[in-house]
């Protein structure tokens, strides 16, 4: 039987399409679990904490980011609940005074300057606008990182395809610029780059 001449071509094309659309997004991202199974919901509900109790602003305007161990140890010197996760946290981190190596979902590249104070205090932006409803989550979702560039999946945006005119929760420059344009802020390169 004569094989149609275009078959190898078609097979190759289909294989590439399948690999590129289905397999590639999985392959390009490395998934890691956070070192501690932390529940924002528990701390917001039971401990009555708001975002900036731990993710605080200092007097000079700098943002503390992910809190350091002494913040946690302030309450968790001894177990406050009954979960295994808390016990292992105390044994592995609090007692030996070892900082957990958290994975930062929103870590921007080195040359980006982002001032939380300006956006939150002056701009009135809520934490959820950019970081999502973290406060309602009962556990920390896995951290996904691009194997080659090292940037978090949250920066690029969850979909692997990003067309320039769509902003789906990513934190790339286009996303910042789109929001700035919408609100009519003058900007120049060095406003956000360092």
């Amino acid at each position: 039987m004569k094989i149609p001449g275009f078959l190898p071509f078609a097979v190759g094309a289909l294989a590439a399409l399948a690999a590129g659309w289905a397999a590639f997004p999985h392959a390009i991202y490395k998934t890691e679990r956070q070192p501690v199974d932390f529940s924002h919901k528990v701390h917001a509900d039971k401990a009555g904490q708001k975002c900036d109790d731990c993710h605080s602003f200092r007097a000079d305007g700098t943002f503390a980011g992910i809190p350091s161990l002494d913040k946690c140890a302030g309450c968790h010197a001894a177990p406050m609940g009954t979960t295994a996760a808390e016990k292992s946290f105390i044994d592995q981190y609090v007692t030996p005074n070892h900082e957990p190596q958290w994975f930062d979902y929103a870590r921007q590249p080195q040359n980006v300057w982002f001032s939380h104070t300006t956006h939150v205090k002056l701009g009135g932006l809520k934490c959820e606008s950019c970081h999502g409803a973290m406060g309602d989550s009962d556990s920390l979702r896995p951290y996904q990182e691009d194997r080659i560039s090292g940037y978090s999946r949250d920066i690029w945006g969850r979909p692997v395809v990003r067309a320039a005119f769509r902003t789906e929760g990513g934190m790339k420059m286009d996303d910042c610029v789109a929001c700035h344009r919408q609100r009519g802020f003058t900007h120049s390169c060095l406003d956000c780059h360092k």
């Binding site: 094989i3 001449g5 275009f6 078959l7 190898p8 071509f9 078609a10 097979v11 190759g12 094309a13 289909l14 294989a15 590439a16 399409l17 690999a19 590129g20 659309w21 590639f24 997004p25 390009i28 200092r58 000079d60 700098t62 503390a64 980011g65 590249p109 080195q110 040359n111 691009d146 080659i148 560039s149 090292g150 940037y151 692997v160 395809v161």
Partner: protein
Amino acid sequence: MTTTRRNLFKLAGGAAVGAMFTPAPWRLITDAALLSETWPGVPKPKRGEVSFQFGNCGLCPAGCAVRARSIGGQPVSLAGVAGHPLSHGALCAFGVAGHHLPYHPGRLKSGPAAQAAAAVRAALGQLRDTEHCAVLDLRPGRTASWTYRRAMASLHNGIYLTPEAPVVVNLSAARTVLSLGAGLYDNWGTPGNVIAAREQFRLFQAEPVESRTAVMADVWLPIRPASEDALALGIAHLLLAEKAVAGLPAGFIDRVKEFPPAVAAERTGIAEAQIAALAGELREHAPSLVIDEAGSPYATALNVILGAPGHTLVTRREAPVPDAWKNAASAADLAAVRDGSIRVLLIDESAPGDACPWNEIQPKLADHAAVVTFACSEEGYGRHANFVLPTAVYPEIVDDIPPAVDSPAAAFRLSAALMPPPDGMTNPADFIGALVGIDPKNALQDRAEAIRKSGRGSLFVPSTACSTPTKDVKPADFWKLLQAGATWIDDIDPRAAAPKLEIPALPVETRAAAFPLVVAATEAGTPAVGSPLLSKIYQESGLRLAPAGVAMHPSDARASGLEAGSRARFETASGSVAVSVTLDAAIPRGVVEIGGGPGIRNLCGARTSARVVRS
């Protein structure tokens, strides 16, 4: 289906075309570009909380006040403290990068401490009656210096040696200053003080090379090399002709007679009229002052003639010490030590100030003397010592900084420890104290307490930029404030006698043919060690001559077979060091300008004779 090559190519082609319609290649291109920016080849600064800490810079006796900015406890930058009564907010190019010193690649990381201690103990045990154990302290006046003096006093034949202390200068009292090659703008005294006082005096800079001080002076006198003494004698001649001055040695008067203005003009290359005008200004616009880099007796005599003692040259009392320390040894005169009598020599160059040329020390050493030097690099006396023991560097230790030459009042201030020292460092005060059973652990605090008890002076606190009299500072606060960077400044003693200037024996003028060049040590004042970032002012801009560099006139270089960038050896009677040669037609013939650094500083001072030979 047959697997022909054509089918394979079709498959590959299809795959390529298909791939273009997937995100993969586009994403990979972007990622590759991002990877080039995030790869480990470019180190990333660490983030953290910003904090500030006050201290004082320990790189040189100026001890300028410093404010350190730290990120997560790591100092990342240093700046001066505005309004400080001594440093006036100034910090020099070296001080600004002082926090890099702990990471200097040339830094010694380990040394034979145990071996050195054993060798010293053995030598001490065998010390004959006529032999000495000596400590050479390159920055006297510190609390550690008192530990050495106490240690040497408690040893049977201990002697304490320091470079000759210059007479204290009160620059703000001066109206006319004649500098014979002293680099007032080149890390002399306290930079901030020189700048603050500068408006009030006319500066005449006499030196063969146009240094930074010569550029900033009111008048630059481009004298012939090694003719500073002739200039001093010519001026003295004119001044003494007008009015005789008592107390000058007869030998000096005879010399002065040999230098009427015409002779001085001929020797120095400066016009007679200009020398006369200079003498006139020194006399009319008093108080005047002569500062001589080389400390020549003619300059000292000229200061006596000008009546500088008591006005621009003053006596300064030392910061108080605990009574228990008062039996400490005083500084011995190196020249008076018998040749070959020093069996153990311990050199503290961890906090360097002036240098003491090795060729003056060497004859005093006994055969097989044990020489131990405490330093952070091997460049200084390490060349000559049996043991080099590494010490912590300035931002790692708390140490006190004695007042600079231009501070009329005593000062006590501490350099802050911004980060811990690495393991394996030796503390010279501990080492030397241990030889005789003195524990200097609380010495700084004890001295601070003695100062506080004396009730003298005032305390400047940088965080408030306010001075409070010592009497009004709470006892518990005094030491705490000092540790937080405060500076104690003594009162000026109104009854202090004017310093008695000893005019040393007049030198015999010898110019060895073997060393035809005269050294212009314009960079002599630079701190012994500096951050690697100082390449900005050295190689990357040519603004200053780098430490391992010499600059000479092209003709002189050619005569020695040297070209720009040649590797050569700079040699004096004291020894030699490897240098790199720069050519500069602005340097007069017969002069070689040297860079800073301990390698050269310990070989010569200003106006030494030298040569540069191919290596």
